[in-house]
């Protein structure tokens, strides 16, 4: 977060209405060069609209959008788009063209050498299908072709809208390897996804959206902390000792289950160390301690308000 370089992407109080429907309200955030930020939320949370605003496909109803210091809708941005790659949510191509023709067409538009197309198709694992009509491609193959066109010309900025839908697990892994490669070059990546658990390890920061609002933004550790979800602790004890141990652990905990050899409890994240020290101090009767921080699905559910009101 240096104050020296302005963020690559800056949104200030951005709102977007389609008719009477407001799909984004007061979204504020900045992304620094070289970051990989994941945009998480349900369908209809405003992820795609946000990406479209950044690409200049739509314009905001209020607030300002700046990409590399420019308004993406302005005429000057047309030239700047040479350094931008985009993979739309459900990517569509001209079905009558072959995979190679499609990629060469887009390479020409970007002013990139056509010779790079073959290698790029190989990189996404489409080298077998380059001469086939795109109309015969499966969903996953289209997605890979979409990724190939997004990677044309080694973009500085990559926008990926639900990039892994339709990919099988091994391709998914390959995809996230590719993202790491791209980041290694210093590119900035913004990708949207449904699931927090999927982007763990790829994104350095995560923006969680809900009904057009940005409800949380930070690293996964920060989000965990901000969620203030209880930590689960399982204490294994000598047979018959559970009830007394449960009593000895004392305050600040919420007992879930106590049986003969085991005490299950939760405590606030801030109280965790205190509780652990007290358990350790109980000595002999305690045979094992298991500490489980809230998992990402729980953090996600917390922010998007599944099951509990915010």
């Amino acid at each position: 977060m240096s104050a020296m370089t302005p963020p690559v992407i800056a949104l200030r109080a951005v709102s977007k209405r389609y008719g009477a429907k407001e799909v984004l309200h007061g979204v504020d955030f900045g992304i620094e060069a070289g970051e990989c930020v994941a945009l998480i939320g349900h369908n209809g949370a405003g992820k795609t609209t946000l990406l479209k605003l950044l690409l200049g496909l739509t314009r905001p109803s209020g607030g300002s959008v700046r990409v590399e210091g420019q308004d993406p809708v302005s005429a000057r941005s047309a030239a700047a788009r040479r350094g931008i790659g985009y993979l739309p949510e459900s990517v569509a191509f001209h079905d009558a063209m072959t995979g190679l023709e499609v990629l060469r067409f887009y390479a020409r538009l970007k002013g990139e050498p056509l010779g790079a197309c073959g290698g790029l198709l190989e990189r996404v694992g489409l080298n077998e299908a380059v001469a086939r009509r795109v109309g015969t491609y499966s969903k996953g193959m289209r997605q890979r072709l979409g990724l190939a066109q997004a990677l044309l010309g080694e973009p500085r900025l990559l926008f990926l809208d639900e990039p892994t839908t339709g990919l099988d697990p091994s391709l998914r892994r390959r995809f996230y390897e590719l993202i790491q490669e791209i980041r290694g070059r210093g590119a900035t990546v913004l990708l949207s996804s449904h699931a927090l658990s999927e982007i763990e390890g790829s994104a350095n920061r995560t923006a969680i959206m809900r009904e057009g609002r940005l409800v949380a933004f930070g690293t996964l550790a920060e989000l965990r902390l901000a969620a203030k979800l209880p930590v689960r602790i399982r204490v294994a004890v000598r047979p018959g000792m559970a009830a007394s141990i449960a009593q000895d652990i004392g305050a600040k905990v919420n007992l879930l289950k106590v049986n003969d050899t085991m005490v299950d409890l939760t405590c606030g994240a801030g109280d965790k160390m205190d509780v652990v020290r007290r358990i350790a101090a109980l000595g002999g009767p305690v045979t094992d301690v298991d500490i489980a921080p809230p998992n990402l699905d729980e953090v996600y559910a917390h922010f998007v308000g599944e099951g509990r009101p915010l």
Binding site: L55, L57, T58, A79, R81, S90, A96, Y106
Partner: protein, 273 residues
């Protein structure tokens, strides 16, 4: 510039791939050759070359067919890409929106020019080989090809405007049919009806001429039927006043290209995807 070529080239390749160009050439050639065969029948007392007769009959039919082909080529050009989602991706490339319109336009006009030149050219060649050509008829024939291309460009531009405004392909198709029917068929019928009912009371000749001069299909017809004496004789229009005159007719037709095309660019510029 490179971007325009790239976009135009893609439309042309698409036209070849889906046999559009081949079909249009076949239709236009079949029409032109059958009309030129009719034209080589004895022409009676009218002093006109076979080529001039062919131009007269061909321009009367082209006025229906060229707009139809042009609209079929263009009504889908933008809304089809909005619906499929390919436009969204295209606009994230270093391409300005006006370039998208102009590039497509150049490609579609090239397709139409190719179809007209090859289709009509085949018929012209057939007539010339049969000895029915004269220098004036040949010039009239070249003007027919040129003005047909211009008429096609007008309807391509109009088709784009429809395509840019609507939300669904089906709407654009319906509007294209309505536009064709309106400008090509109903306009003249209505004008004729008014003139007959009016009997020269309210609508002066100047007014009638002006009304014809605003419709591109009428401009095209008058341009082709009155610019050359041989054709005019064959069409029974010898001595008829040529409305705006050849140059002004072409200029107004040019305006019919530029205004809808500019409007399409303006609408598209503001459209959100």
């Amino acid at each position: 510039m490179k971007v325009l070529w790239c976009l135009a080239g893609k439309e042309i390749r698409d036209g070849m791939r889906n046999r559009w160009i081949a079909a249009a050439i076949a239709i236009l050639a079949a029409l032109a050759i059958s009309l030129s065969l009719l034209g080589s029948a004895p022409v009676g007392e009218v002093k006109a070359s076979t080529l001039s007769v062919t131009v007269a009959s061909l321009s009367s039919l082209s006025v229906y067919l060229i707009p139809l082909i042009a609209l079929m080529l263009s009504y889908d050009a933008l809304v089809g890409e909005f619906e499929r989602g390919t436009m969204q991706l295209l606009l994230t490339y270093p391409v300005a929106r006006w370039q998208v319109i102009l590039g497509k336009f150049l490609g579609h006009v090239a397709i139409l020019v190719l179809a007209i030149a090859v289709g009509y050219g085949a018929a012209g060649l057939a007539v010339a080989l049969g000895g029915g050509a004269d220098p004036q008829g040949a010039r009239a024939f070249l003007f027919l090809i040129g003005s047909s291309a211009l008429l096609g460009a007008v309807f391509i531009a109009l088709g784009y405007l429809l395509s840019a405004v609507v939300r669904e392909r089906a709407t654009a198709a319906g509007l294209a049919v309505a536009l064709w029917l309106g400008l090509v068929v109903l306009y003249d019928l209505a004008l004729l009806g008014v003139l007959i009912a009016d009997r020269g009371q309210m609508v002066s000749q100047a007014m009638a001429s002006a009304l014809m001069a605003v419709n591109p299909t009428d401009l095209y017809r008058v341009f082709n039927l009155t610019s050359f004496d041989g054709v005019a004789a064959a069409a029974g229009m010898l001595g008829a006043e040529g409305g705006l005159g050849p140059l002004l007719s072409l200029a107004v037709l040019g305006g019919w290209v530029i205004v809808p095309l500019g409007a399409t660019m303006a609408v598209f510029q503001r459209r959100e995807l």
